[in-house]
Symmetry: C2
Subunit: 106 residues, 2 copies
């Protein structure tokens, strides 16, 4: 069995303002990562789940970008409620939260 | 099918020197990430595999720490040759490189 039941990576990559792709940092990536950390702490998930910062996940235009392993599901949560939905329905219950999935990323 | 066949995260977290755990940054994490990037480029793996920087993976004392998804295998590569072995044997061929696995992390 893998070390963590589920491992959540949130892009916090910061690009120069001149870059047309934009970046997850300005799209709220740092907040999203912080919300995952706060939810994990509140749920006592230490050792069971892990929330990690990540560098560029190559999906800048869809950001803030999150990928959940081992399933490899790509999300773009925009609010604390979105993060809570991913925690409740995917991380805890194992269901993909279809309305937060980034279309086309599998 | 997931977006990437395999997704490699390397910790580049930097801690204060006073921290007894040490950190992956001083244990070579930045070099290891760079070696993965260079190998992926040389192998034309863009779009198929991805090498990412990660924040602290909570395995500081075993660093430099790498985790490969979707399998969730934890490695501590110390050299370019170690990184090449992970590329050849795990990422390409799907075999776990047992002698580079961090014991006990699953």
């Amino acid at each position: 069995m893998s070390r963590f039941e589920r491992h959540v990576f949130t892009c916090i990559n910061e690009r120069d303002e001149s870059d047309a792709r934009g970046c997850c940092a300005t799209r709220g990536g740092v907040d999203v990562h912080g919300w995952f950390k706060a939810e994990f702490k509140a749920r006592n998930w230490k050792g069971r789940m892990r929330a990690n910062k990540a560098g560029c996940l190559d999906a800048c235009e869809f950001g803030p970008t999150v990928v959940v392993y081992p399933e490899g599901v790509w999300y773009s949560p925009r609010s604390r409620e979105d993060v809570q939905a991913i925690c409740d329905r995917h991380l805890e219950a194992g269901e993909v939260v279809e309305d937060l999935v980034i279309p086309g990323l599998g």
